[in-house]
Amino acid sequence: MPQHLSNLTETASQTGGPYVHIGCIPSFAGIEGVYPQDLGLSPIQPGALGQQITITGQVIDGTGWALRDALIESWQPDSAGRFAGQPGADPAVSGFCRFAADKDSGEFCLTTVKPGAVPARTGQMQAPHISLWIAARGINVGLHTRIYFEDEDNSADPLLARIEQRNRVSTLIARKTGEGAYRFDIRLQGEGETVFLDI
C-alpha cells in the first residue's frame, strides 16, 4: 500500500432552488428587516473611475424560455484592472454584484464600470471581462461564464482563443446597443448555448 493522502474532497454542490433569494437577496423574496440591506447591491459607488456601463439580458433555458428565478453574481476589477484589496485599487469599486432575473420578465440588469484588462498566469493579457456565476432551480452546479465586450480588442484573449468552435465565441461577447449600453443573454442549452467554464 502506498502512503495515504490526507487531502479532502470538495463538498458536493446542490441546486440553489427556487427560493435562493431568501438567503442571497432577501428583499427580492419579500423579506425586510433581517439585514439593513442586501449584500452586493452594486459593484460601484459614486465616484468610481472609468466608463459607467449597463448590461441587460436574460437567462434562457433550452426551450427558449427566460428564467424568472435565476440569481447571478458578477466579479470584476476596477477600470485599471485592479481587484478590490489590491494595491492602488479604486476604493469606489467593490467589484462584486448580485442581481436576479426579474420575476415577471426574466430581465436582469447590471450597472457597473467597464473593467480593465487583467493578465492570466502566463503573463499574457486577457481582454477586459466580467466573471459571472449563475445559480437557479434546476442548476445543480453553479455555472461560471464571462462577459467580454464587442467594442474591445478580444483577438488575443487566451480564454477565447481556446474555444475550438469559433462560432461559439460570440456567446461570451456583449453586444453594444448604445453608448455605455450592452446586451448579454445567457443561453443555458440549445441553439447558441453559452460557453460555460470549468476554471
Binding site: 490526507s6 487531502n7 479532502l8 474532497t9 470538495e10 463538498t11 458536493a12 446542490q14 441546486t15 432552488g17 427560493y19 435562493v20 431568501i22 442571497c24 432577501p26 423574496a29 419579500g30 423579506i31 433581517v34 439585514y35 449584500l39 433555458d61 433550452g62 426551450t63 424560455w65 428565478d69 453574481e73 466579479w75 470584476q76 476589477p77 481587484f83 478590490a84 484589496g85 467589484g95 462584486f96 487583467v118 492570466a120 498566469r121 502566463t122 503573463g123 466573471s131 437557479a136 432551480r137 434546476g138 442548476i139 445543480n140 452546479v141 453553479g142 461560471h144 487566451p158 480564454l159 481556446r162 443555458l188 442549452q189 448555448e193 460557453v195 460555460f196 467554464l197 470549468d198 476554471i199
Partner: protein, 242 residues
C-alpha cells in the same frame, strides 16, 4: 518561498450531474456542450471579501432575527455548526456563509411559495455569519420541515438547510444543502440523488452532535464544508504558449 498557485480543478464526478431526468427542471437548464476547462486566472483566484462591519449581532440567530413580536421562532431548536476547510485541510477563515430554509412547517417566506403550511410571523428563514480564524461557524435556528414540491407525482423534500459559501476566490463559490441524519426522505429525493457518488451525498448529511447540544435548550448538528484549494508549491512556473 511558496506562491499561492492556481485553483485545483474541480472533480466534476464528485458533484451532481447537471442533467438528471428525475429532477425535471434540470432537463432544460443543463448545458449540453462540455464546459471549457482552463487554468484559473486572477479573475477566479480573487474574490469578494466581507468584513465584520456587514454582519449584525443576530444575523446568525434565525430563532430571533425576524422576531417581529419578540418571541422566538416556532420549532425544534437546533445549533448548526461546523468548519470550512479547503481540499488541503487548511481552515478557511473570515469567509461569508449564508443560509436559508423553510420554517418548521415546511413553508418558505418567499413571494412565490404558496404551500398551505402557515408562515411563522417570527421566522424569516435567512442567516449569515463569517467563519472565525479556524474556519468555524455557528447558527442557531429551528429544524426546517419537509415539504411537497412539484416534480413527479408525490415528491417531498427532506428537511434541509441551504448553504452559500464564498471562500476567498470567486472560483470557490459553492451553494449546497445540508440534510439531517436519519431522515428517510433523503433516499427518496431526486435532488439529493443528482449526486451519484454515495459518499459525497453522505457528506451532506449532518450528524446529531449531542456533546454540542445544550441541555434544556437546543440540539446540535455538525456540518463541515470543504472548498476548492489552491496549489501551494515553490514551482508555480508560468507556462508559456498555452
Amino acid at each position: 518561498m511558496t506562491d499561492l498557485g492556481p485553483l485545483v480543478p474541480r472533480q466534476r464526478d464528485m458533484h451532481p450531474v447537471p442533467y438528471d431526468p428525475d429532477y425535471k427542471t434540470s432537463v432544460p437548464r443543463s448545458p449540453k456542450w462540455p464546459l471549457l476547462s482552463m487554468e484559473s486566472t486572477p479573475s477566479e483566484e480573487t474574490g469578494p471579501r466581507f468584513g465584520h462591519g456587514v454582519i449584525g449581532p443576530l444575523d446568525n440567530n434565525l430563532m430571533l432575527n425576524f422576531a417581529t413580536d419578540g418571541s422566538p421562532a416556532i420549532g425544534e431548536r437546533i445549533l448548526v455548526h461546523g468548519q470550512v476547510l479547503d481540499e488541503f485541510a487548511r481552515p478557511v477563515p473570515n469567509t461569508l456563509i449564508e443560509i436559508w430554509q423553510a420554517n418548521a412547517g415546511g413553508r418558505y417566506r418567499h413571494i412565490k411559495d404558496t404551500y398551505l403550511a402557515p408562515l411563522d410571523p417570527n421566522f424569516g428563514g435567512c442567516g449569515r455569519t463569517l467563519t472565525d480564524d479556524q474556519g468555524r461557524y455557528q447558527f442557531l435556528t429551528i429544524r426546517p420541515g419537509a415539504y411537497p414540491w412539484p416534480n413527479r407525482g408525490n415528491e417531498w423534500r427532506p428537511m434541509h438547510i441551504h448553504f452559500s459559501v464564498f471562500g476567498h476566490s470567486f472560483g470557490q463559490r459553492l451553494i449546497t444543502q445540508m440534510y439531517f441524519e436519519g431522515d428517510p426522505l433523503i433516499a427518496r429525493c431526486p435532488i439529493a440523488a443528482t449526486i451519484k457518488n454515495r459518499s459525497q451525498l453522505d457528506r451532506l448529511v449532518a450528524p446529531l452532535d449531542m456533546p454540542m447540544a445544550r441541555p434544556l435548550d437546543f440540539l446540535a448538528y455538525k456540518f463541515d464544508i470543504v472548498l476548492r484549494g489552491r496549489r501551494q508549491t515553490m514551482f508555480e512556473n508560468r507556462l508559456e504558449g498555452l
